[in-house]
Amino acid sequence: MSVSEFFQHFMNGLTLGGIYALIALGYTMVYGILKFINFAHGDILMVGAYVGLFTYNALRGDASLGAWTVISFFIAMAVAMVACGGLGVVIERVAYRPLRHAARLAPLLSAIGVSFMLSNSAAWAFGTQSRKFDYPFDNTPINIKGVIITPHQIMILAVAAVMMVALALFVDKTRMGKAMRATSIDQDTAMLMGINVDRVISLTFAVGSALAATGGILIALDFKAYPSMGMMTGLKAFVAAVVGGIGNIQGAMLGGIILGLLETFGVAVLGIPTGMKDTIAFGVLILILLIKPEGILGHAEKEKV
């Protein structure tokens, strides 16, 4: 393998990982606070992609690539983030909150139900064929010493990094973030301290779902929008969140990147058949669960007496 081929695989894996990381952030946030896996996260991502696609196409009209298409793209992204944020809050209010004190399995099943409802509704409303999401900018690849990088790949990495830093700052430095951390440690005590736990949880879902919308749009640019788009990507992002240490924001990022690189290099270097690509993701999950169940950056939780 030549040097440029190596770095090409590296770039491919890195951007794939960037996408996983972006979605893993949403999983990790909700888990960190509620100790609950929101399996509908992948489908919220899909809704975000469609909202973004329709808004973008409506705003863009027949305009050719230029400043206006980029502006409409970012407006579309904002609209999708707000729409998905709202959707996340509604889903939490309707399908999860009533079950908060039920057996652990109940909200999980409810989440799987929501996931199917969203993807089936999308199939019914938008049809099941793939829809093209045109690049809002010139996506001509850039050649750096034989390694080809597209502006879209750079954008994925940039957006993922910005989102991670913004989220970390939000959780660590703001009052609301402090409330989130408090809720995550002990809901009842947080409530006694005057924190509105319901509001904190709603906000968590709003932020997580808005992140999913961003991820959905970035994926749709590359892989097109279709009703089941959130299924596999969502599952892999979940694996990434667990590998990095679920509940840990930097861990989600790291887990995503590791998974993306593993999938790419597993096929390219280790010669694992392409059809087995997805096996790598879940194989890694099992390994991590066996060796370090709390994930790479996770802290082992001691049961308090």
Binding site: H9, N12, Q129, P141, I148, H152, A268
Partner: protein
């Protein structure tokens, strides 16, 4: 008490709604027209293929019934079932069509994998089947009830492999194909024939149907430095492959198969289709029927037919003629009699031109070469028809 009343009322309604159906079935079965079933993907990522074909059959049935139907008095009924392109859905479709709808003949399935499974069923049930698009060379080996109005890809692979070597002059190519019957069949055919000529397939990469990311495979192919890449796949994947190849600055020519003749490719990947050469069924000689078909089809459905839809239309008319003959001889639409009449089809003038079946149910036909020169279906240039005789590529005049 109330509950009992409700149950009674329910039973009464059910009896009322169901009984007329039974009555109809019993009294008119002697004088009913034949039923043709259709199976193809009409929802999902491959809906484009099935919908175009189903529309063609619909058009044929409507035209034929407008003239009175079989013997001028028995209209043909079309019952279409969605397979989504999957074997499981296809099998439940044929189950419904054969036992509850009691079809006399089947058009489809559209996909090769589904056709293998459904073909076994129709063979054991004794239902004649004509697929407009399943190209795998072994499809007609299932048995004597299976026919097709599409060219076997045994010939497609032979012509493609030899054409790439002899006419296009490639010596080293890469092949990126899906792990399914259709793609793999073409891959094997092209590899065998291309290498028999002295060429070499220097990179073979695979993927699963439904994959969206092909960058790993394309990066490996790029490193192998082939002169061209052959992608015998479906539009959803080919569109993704073409776009990602351009994102990797992979600018060598792309070669493809009859799957490329579906116009959806230009919606999904219009910016990247220029220059693609694909091998598919030879173009019919421009005839008045073909023109009329394309015109009526486009007027009715908004888009033009692809080659599979054209084949579906011919399949429908081959059935009409066979049913007409069977009815004249026996006075009914016996499945076995219809099969015999389909097999006896001779010099049938369809929109594809003159059509005959070989003894195994394959179509006697040629392969055509097409080149895309822009980003629309109209930009496709026809480069001529070819066949292989005694192991040699021969241009058909």
């Amino acid at each position: 008490m109330k509950k009992h009343m409700l149950v009674l009322a329910l039973i009464a309604t059910m009896a009322l709604t169901v009984s007329p159906l039974f009555a109809n079935g019993a009294s008119e079965s002697g004088a009913q027209g034949p039923k043709i079933g259709f199976i193809g993907p009409m929802t999902g990522d491959y809906a484009n293929y099935g919908t175009l074909c189903n529309n063609a059959v619909k058009l044929a049935v409507e035209e034929y019934n407008a003239k009175g139907g079989i013997a001028g008095k028995l209209p043909v009924t079309l019952i279409s079932e969605d397979s989504e392109g999957t074997v499981e859905k296809g099998l439940s479709a044929i189950e419904k069509l054969s036992s509850s709808d009691k079809i006399n003949a089947l058009i489809g399935p559209v996909f090769t994998g589904v056709s293998f499974a459904v073909g076994q069923r129709v063979q054991s049930e004794g239902i004649p089947m004509i697929t407009p698009s399943a190209t795998h060379k072994d499809i007609t080996n299932i048995g004597n009830y299976v026919f097709r109005t599409v060219v076997s890809d045994g010939l497609q692979g032979e012509v493609a492999g030899k054409y790439f070597y002899e006419v296009l002059g490639y010596r080293n190519i890469a092949i990126l194909y899906a792990k399914n019957d259709y793609s793999q069949g073409l891959f094997e055919g092209v590899k065998e024939n291309f290498e028999a000529e002295g060429g070499k397939v220097i990179s073979e990469e695979t993927f699963q149907v439904g994959d969206k990311d092909f960058k790993t495979q394309l990066t490996k192919i790029k490193a192998a430095k082939p002169e061209a890449i052959y992608i015998p796949d479906y539009t959803a994947e080919m569109a993704q492959i073409l776009e990602q190849a351009s994102e990797l600055d992979l600018t060598i020519p792309f070669l493809s198969c009859d799957g490329f003749s579906n116009p959806q490719i230009y919606d999904l990947a219009g910016n990247f289709t220029k220059g693609v050469v694909y091998v598919g069924p030879a173009k019919a000689e421009e005839n008045a029927e073909h023109e009329a078909f394309v015109k009526n089809y486009t007027a009715k459905f908004g888009t033009g037919p692809d080659s599979f839809a054209t084949n579906s239309y011919d399949a429908a008319y081959i059935y009409f003629a066979a049913m007409e003959r069977a009815y004249k001889k026996t006075g009914k639409f016996d499945r076995a009699a219809i099969r015999d009449e389909v097999a006896a089809t001779k010099d049938f003038m369809g929109v594809n031109g003159k059509m005959n079946f070989e003894s195994n149910g394959d179509l006697v036909a040629y392969q055509g070469i097409y080149q895309v020169t822009g980003n629309t279906a109209d930009s496709v240039v026809y480069k001529g028809a070819y066949t292989v005789t005694d192991g040699k590529l021969v241009a058909v005049k």
